[in-house]
Symmetry: C2
Subunit: 261 residues, 2 copies
C-alpha cells in the first residue's frame, strides 16, 4: 500500500469562519488523496470558558487544563467543532469520521508530570495506533481527529493539535509516503509578520535556530515549527506551513508556503 | 455472519452517575457479544443550557432545538458524554468508537416539518447505514452512538436516542440475530411506579394499548415503549426494558425486566 497520505492541520482562524472553513474543506474535496484532518479549537474553547465564568490560565502560551476546562475542551473539540467538520465533509461527499484519541485507541498519552509546571489534564503522546488509521484509510474513510488523547485508564487528556498532527505523520511515515501541512490564514512563515510578501519559501534547522535566537519568529509559530521539524526529522516526506487557499496545491505535491528542508 | 448483535440504550440516570455508569459498562465488558451502545444526555444538556442562560422549551415532553440548543446538545452528547463513555470502555478493554449520525454517514435524517409544531433542528431517521456498522462490528469495534443525526447537507439534527436504538436494531435485524435492551434504573415497566415488585414481565401490543388508554403507563415511558414495539414489529428478535444491573443477563439471552412479546 503506497498511496500517499496527507495529514492536514487547520488553525482556529479557519475553523471559526464558515466561509474560510468551507473554502478549506472544498480544497480537500477536490483532491483525490487520502487525508487525515487534525484540529483543535482553542478560540471557541476560550469563549465557552468565559461564558461559563471559568478563568483561563496559561503558562507560556499553553492552556492549563483543570477538570472544568477539560470538560469545556472535550465539548468544543470533540463535539461542536469535530461534528460540524464531519457533517460538512459528508455534505461534500467525503466519508468523514470524527475521532478523539480515545476512539479506537488512536492516541494514547501520558499525563504530563506536574513539575515544574502543573498543566493539569494535559497529555504527551506515547503511541499512535497507526494500524487503526490504516484500516480506516483503506476503507476510504477520512479521519477527522481532534486535539484530545487518553491515558488508557479512562482519563481524557488535552493535547496540542500541532503535536498530534506531527506525531500521526511520523507514525504513518514508515508505511507510506506521508505529507504534513499546517494550514492557516497566512501564506507561511514570514520574515516580517506585517508583510505577506516576506514569505520564507524554505526553512532549514540552522536558519530556524538563527531566526529563533534573533527573536524573529512569532511566538505563536514556535510550537508549530518545532513540531514541523520533529516530523521532518522523523522521516515525513514533505512538511509545509501554508495558507488554506493553497491546500489543494500542497495536496498535489506543489511547493507552497514554507517548506521544511 | 450470524453472530448476534445487541443494541443497548443507556438512560440519563446511568450516564450521569459514575458508579452506575461503571457498573453498566462492566456488564458490557463481561459479555462476549457484539454490542452497539446508544445514548442521549438530556439531563446534562439541560444543565449546560441553564448555565448558559438558554431557555429550555418543550412540547409534549420533547425539547425544542433552536440553533443555540443544538450547539449545546452537540457538545454534551457527542463531546462530553460520548468521549467519556469511549475512554471508560477503552479502559475496560473494549475497542469503543464514538459516533454521531454524521460519522461514516451512520444515520441520515430529515428535518421534522415545522407544522403543526416547529421542533427546530430535530431530525427523523430516514436511513441507517447498516453496512458501515457491519464493517465496524466485524473489526471487533464497539460503536457508541449519540443522539445526533445529519441531513446529508451539512446540518446536524437532534434525534431521540430511544428512536435511534430502535431504528438501528430494525436495520440490522435482516442481517443477523438482533436484540434491543433499554437499560435504566428501574427493573422494567411497572404496574405501579412506586412498587418495584409490580414488574410487568411480558407486554404485548393489546395490553400496552389497554394500559395506555387507562393512563397507567408513566408518560416518560411512552416513547420508549412505542419504539420498543416498533422494533419488535420490524423483526428484532428480542426487545426488553430492564435495569442496568440486569444487562449482563439480558446480553446472555435471559429474560429480564419487561419483554415485548
Amino acid at each position: 500500500m503506497t498511496t500517499p497520505v496527507h495529514i492536514v492541520k487547520f488553525g482556529s482562524g479557519i475553523l471559526d469562519d464558515p466561509v474560510k472553513r468551507e473554502a478549506a474543506l472544498r480544497q480537500m474535496q477536490a483532491s483525490a488523496h487520502n487525508i487525515i484532518l487534525v484540529h483543535g479549537g482553542g478560540a471557541r474553547a476560550g469563549e465557552l470558558s468565559a461564558r461559563l465564568g471559568l478563568e483561563t490560565v496559561k503558562h507560556d502560551g499553553r492552556r492549563v487544563t483543570d477538570a472544568d476546562t477539560l470538560e469545556v475542551v472535550v465539548m468544543v473539540y470533540a463535539g461542536l467543532i469535530n461534528k460540524q467538520l464531519v457533517a460538512e465533509l459528508q455534505a461534500l461527499g467525503l466519508d468523514a469520521l470524527g475521532l478523539s484519541g480515545a476512539d479506537m485507541d488512536i492516541l494514547r498519552a501520558r499525563r504530563r508530570p506536574p513539575q515544574p509546571i502543573d498543566f493539569g489534564f494535559v497529555g504527551d503522546v506515547e503511541r499512535v495506533n497507526a494500524g487503526a488509521l490504516e484500516i480506516l484509510l483503506r476503507r476510504g474513510v477520512t479521519p477527522v481527529i481532534c486535539a484530545l488523547t487518553h491515558d488508557g485508564a479512562g482519563q481524557l487528556l488535552n493535547t496540542n493539535a500541532d503535536t498530534i498532527a506531527a506525531e500521526i505523520a511520523a507514525a504513518l511515515a514508515p508505511q507510506r509516503p506521508c505529507c504534513l501541512s499546517y494550514c492557516f490564514e497566512l501564506p507561511g512563515v514570514l520574515h516580517d509578520l506585517g508583510d505577506v510578501g516576506s514569505l520564507i519559501g524554505e526553512l532549514d534547522a540552522a536558519e530556524y535556530a538563527r531566526l529563533k535566537q534573533e527573536g524573529r519568529i512569532h511566538r505563536g509559530m514556535l510550537p508549530k515549527l518545532d513540531n514541523a521539524f520533529a516530523a521532518h526529522a522523523a522521516g515525513v516526506n514533505s512538511v509545509n506551513i501554508c495558507a488554506y487557499e493553497a491546500l489543494h496545491d500542497a495536496l498535489n505535491g506543489e511547493r507552497v508556503g514554507t517548506t521544511i528542508v
